[in-house]
Every structure is written in C-alpha cells, then in structure tokens.
C-alpha cells in the first residue's frame, strides 16, 4: 500500500489509541465510538462512489438491517453474537446483490432512486412490523458486545474494540485499492469503455463493490446494536443515508483518508450543534450544498491515495456536463 499510507496509519493508530487516556468524559468516547462505526459505513460508500461512480441514498437501510437482524436473532432467538453478525452481513449482502444487478447497469440516478426507495421500504417495515422489530418505540435488551467470556462493559473498553475493527477495515480497503481489483476499479471509474475492452467485467465489479459497501454497513449496524443495546427506526431513516454520503463528499470522493476524517468531523458536528437542535437539518443541508458547489472534489483532496482524481470520463459521454450533455 505504499510507504505514505503506512506512515499515515501509524500516526492515525497512535492518536486513536492514545485518546482514551486523555479523554475522561464518557460522552466524548461514545461520540468517537459512533464515529468509528460511521467510518466503516463511509469507507464502503467511498469505494462505491469513488470507483463505481454511483451514489447510494439507502445505506441507512443496510446499516439498519445489520442492526435489526443482529438484534432480533440474538435477543429474540438467542443466537450467538458473532455468528449472527456474520449472518446479518451475508443476508444484507444478498439483498444488495439483488438490488444491484438490475440497477447498476443503468445510469447513476437509478441506483440513487432504487436505494432511496429501498431505504424507505425498510424504514416503514421497521416501524410497522412491530411484533418483530418493536415498532417505533424501538428494540431493547440487545446483548452487549463480548468476546468469549469477556463482556465489554464500558464505553472505554468498547472503544478499543470498535476502533480496532474500524482501522482493520481501513487497512483492508487500502490493500484493496492497491491490488489488481483496485486497479481494475480505478480504470472502470475513469473510462468504462476502455476498461471493458481491457478485459474488465465492469458490470460485475460495480455490483461487487455495491455488495461490499452494503456488507460493511451491515457490520457497522450490528456492532452499533450490540454497543448501544437499544435501537429504534429513527436512527435508520433516509437522513442517515444523506449524512454518510455527505461525509464521503466532504472528505473527497475516492479518498479513504478523506472519508475517515469527514466521518469523524461530521459525527462530532451535530453534537456540537446540539445547542441549536432545530437548526441541525438546515445546517446539514447547507453544508452539503456549500461543499458540493465550491469543493466538489472534497475538502481533503491532498490526502488521496495512489489513484488521484477519479471521475468517470467515458468517451461516450465526454461532458456529462450541463453545457454539453448529449441527448440519448
């Protein structure tokens, strides 16, 4: 993955694991714990958006599926914790596969709408299917995260586990970017027709990366459920989908480091804005617009990895731009 990334990882890891010694307030640790999980979701989305050039507005649904599947199977049916997390990932991945296959062949905004529609359907199911999900008042009593006989009791203890997972996902994703598959995806994101002619199964990779992003969101969701031990549909609404996409855009599409920083920044931001709760929605919308209008390449472009600026430039649509759009 290159020397630069290894150095960044070292610094990043040192700071992350040193923080609990400095931060005494449990609330701060909790915010960072949620940030760690958001990073996992956001990394998946970055791979999807940066490589497949597709935006999903439904990742809250995958996050929520991971949470509810984990919650229901461990609490109501007594399944063991970690196998359930993996099972949830498999189920969520399969659903993503089913959605991805037809929609990823089409233009970007079809996936946007399909994932948004999916998000809303899942959200409504979470609310209405109350016999299983607990309905609008939520689902409580979820078993806490544990490894073997050791149950993670405090925010501080869970911090190490969640951040270890988060950093592991980051490392694995960095590995992916620098591998044969990563190269193929970078090629496909840049020039899809040339990539196809070079022998890359572009449709297949787009679906695969969509599934990967869904599976990561599911993992984060399961961990979230077993951390907070209580979940309710409100957490998994369309707004969360927007939030994670905003984190990716703020960080710079295709930059894993940027996305991680964007996730941390935008997880902390609402807490800071807590005083002005009513304005939360408006400010989010304004941030999204400002970043997209003035910094479409993201706020952290310099941190991008080996493959710098990646925007799809197919010969067939030189200029998916307002000024030159070709009419089909």
């Amino acid at each position: 993955m290159g020397k630069k990334n290894k150095i960044y990882l070292l610094i990043y890891g040192l700071i992350i694991f040193a923080l609990p010694a400095i931060l005494q307030n449990n609330y701060h640790l909790m915010v960072l714990n949620v940030a760690a999980l958001n990073i996992v979701v956001v990394i998946g989305l970055t791979l999807l958006m940066g490589y497949a050039g597709q935006i999903s507005l439904g990742h809250a649904a995958f996050f929520g599926l991971g949470a509810y599947l984990s919650a229901v199977f461990t609490t109501t049916y007594g399944f063991p914790l970690w196998p359930t997390v993996i099972m949830a990932m498999a189920i969520t991945g399969s659903i993503a596969y089913a959605i991805g296959i037809p929609t990823l062949k089409l233009e970007g905004h079809y996936l946007v709408m399909a994932t948004l529609g999916f998000n809303i359907i899942i959200y409504i199911v979470m609310i209405q299917f109350d016999a299983v999900t607990g309905g609008p008042s939520g689902f409580a009593g979820i078993p806490r995260l544990r490894m073997g006989n050791f149950a993670f009791g405090s925010d501080r203890q869970i911090y190490y586990l969640l951040w270890a997972v988060s950093i592991a996902v980051l490392i694995l994703s960095l590995n992916l970017i620098y591998s044969r598959v990563g190269r193929a995806m970078a090629a496909l994101s840049h020039n899809e027709i040339a990539a196809r002619c070079a022998g890359i199964d572009t449709e297949g990779y787009k679906v695969k990366i969509f599934v990967v992003s869904a599976v990561l969101a599911s993992l984060a969701g399961s961990l979230y459920a077993h951390y907070i031990t209580f979940i309710s549909p409100g957490t998994f609404s369309f707004f969360y989908s927007i939030q994670v996409v905003t984190m990716v855009l703020v960080g710079g599409m295709g930059s894993l480091w940027g996305s991680a920083l964007g996730a941390i920044l935008l997880t902390i931001l609402p807490e800071v804005l807590h005083a002005v709760k009513e304005y939360n929605v408006l400010i989010y919308g304004l941030i999204l617009m400002v970043v997209l209008v003035f910094f479409p390449q993201g706020l952290f472009p310099g941190i991008a990895g080996a493959f710098a600026n990646r925007r799809t430039k197919n010969p067939s649509d030189s200029g998916k731009q307002l000024a030159l759009a070709k009419r089909a």
């Binding site: 694995l172 196809r196 022998g199 449709e203 080996a306």
Partner: protein
C-alpha cells in the same frame, strides 16, 4: 513469411459472416463477410464512413450486430461482452488513445494484464502471499512491455504528459499486456509526423515477426502499402475487394470508391 493469397483460406483466426449493423436508419455494416489467417498484418481500408471503426467495435463487442456472425478461432463471439472477448484473446486500440489518465504509465499496462491474472477481492484485501507473487509478476511483465515499447523511463509519468506518439505506444503496450492472439489497431498514426509514423510502422512489423496477428484500420496509404500482407477494402459497409496490397492498388472498384468520394 509469404505475403498474401495462398494461405488465406486455411486456418482462420477471425471470420465474419454476413455481418450487418444498423445505426438508427443508417446501415453501418452491410452483409460483410471475410476471414483472416493468423500471423499477418491485414489492413482494412476504405473511404470515410465505410464502416471500418464500426467493424472493430463489432468485433470487440462494443456494438452488437443486427445480424450475422463473428467467429474468433472457431468460437462464436458475436453475442459476447467486450471483457469476455478480450479474455478470449482479442484486444484493440482506439482512434483517440483511451488511456486511464488517473494512473501512471506503468499502472495502465498493469491494468492491461487484468484478464490474464486472477487475484480477486479476498487476495487483494488480505494481501495474501499468492496475490503478492502475482503482483510482482504483473509489475515485471508490465515493465518489460514498456521496455519493448521504449516507454520504461517514463513508467511513473501520467499519460497526459506523454506525446501523442508515446500515448499510442502506451495504448498498444496495454493491449499487448493481455496477450492477445489478435490485435486491432484503429488509425494508429493519425496525427503523427512522418518519423513517428515510420517508427510505429516498424513496431507493428516487429510485432508481426513475433507471431502477432494484426488488423489495422488506416487512412495513411503509404503506411498501409508498406506493412500490409493483405488488404480488405470496405465501402458503405460492405467489402468491395480484398487481396494483396499491390493488386488492390490497381483494382478499378477500389480506385473508384476512393475517387468517387
């Protein structure tokens, strides 16, 4: 190696039968039938709009034919997707070099090896020993290809900083990375000066001498006459003649097609 006729019929590396392709109301290819024997340079020529690039797009699966078939080494490829056709052993260059400008010169060639390598998500994500070995081989082969094409000193450059001739060579080296039995070159020397054109012509002949089969779509008649073993002449989407370059030069139908436009 014998130029031209006698062994055309024997082993066919590529064959089209009655290939027809429409664009809206326009017939771009019209019942085109021909076949090509391996290890030679076949040039496809014809006036503008004759369907030459369309033919390349049809062979590589970028366009689907309305009717007719294409066979590659006996296998029917007309309904396959581009990446499948590449994996079978056909690769191409484009009229305007389609390089991945977000990657280095070396990485462009490494991508070209995709169909001949196999490390997947798991290997990539976990950086397994098998994947590491394959990456090393990919890098080495890419470097040796760049060396053959004279681009090794610029391996870490971005393609945008290369000259046009160098970009074309990069595109060929990327195409060669997939070890194609058949290489299609689309107007390789358009926009190049005489020196660059001759250099590329020599390169193509060197590739043929190593056993490569090439289909060259070209407008530059001097180059065509200089390197081709066989010519196929298209006009309005059909074949109006094929044969040795010197014969086609004198063929009245061919002459009329060029003068008539």
């Amino acid at each position: 190696m014998m130029r031209g006729a006698a062994f055309q019929g024997k082993q066919k590396i590529l064959e089209t039968r009655d290939l027809t392709l429409h664009f809206g109301g326009l017939e771009a290819l019209n019942g085109l039938s021909f076949s090509i024997a391996p290890h030679q340079i076949v040039s496809v020529i014809g006036p503008n709009g004759a369907g030459k690039t369309t033919l390349l797009n049809a062979i590589t699966g970028v366009y689907s034919a309305h009717s007719g078939d294409i066979f590659f080494q006996g296998t029917l490829i007309s309904r396959l997707k581009p990446f499948q056709i590449t994996a079978l052993g056909i690769n191409r260059t484009f009229q305007q070099a389609q390089l991945f400008s977000n990657m280095s010169v070396l990485q462009n060639v490494m991508v070209g090896m995709h169909p001949r390598t196999s490390a997947g998500f798991l290997g990539g994500v976990l950086h397994l020993p098998g994947e590491r070995r394959e990456e090393k081989k990919i890098r080495e082969r890419a470097e040796s290809l760049l060396d053959f094409f004279g681009l090794l000193p610029k391996a870490d450059w971005l393609p945008g900083h290369l000259s046009i001739a160098e970009q074309k060579r990069l595109e060929i080296s990327r195409a060669m990375a997939s070890e194609p039995e058949l290489l299609l070159l689309d107007e390789l020397v358009a926009g190049l000066n005489i020196r660059e054109t001759e250099a590329l012509g020599d390169l193509i002949i060197r590739l043929k001498e190593k056993g490569q089969t090439l289909i060259v779509v070209e407008h530059n008649m001097h180059l065509v006459m200089g390197i081709s073993d066989w010519l196929i002449v298209l006009h309005h989407g059909s074949k109006i003649g094929e044969g040795r370059p010197e014969d086609m030069q004198k063929d009245p139908k061919v002459v009329e097609a060029y003068l008539g436009t």
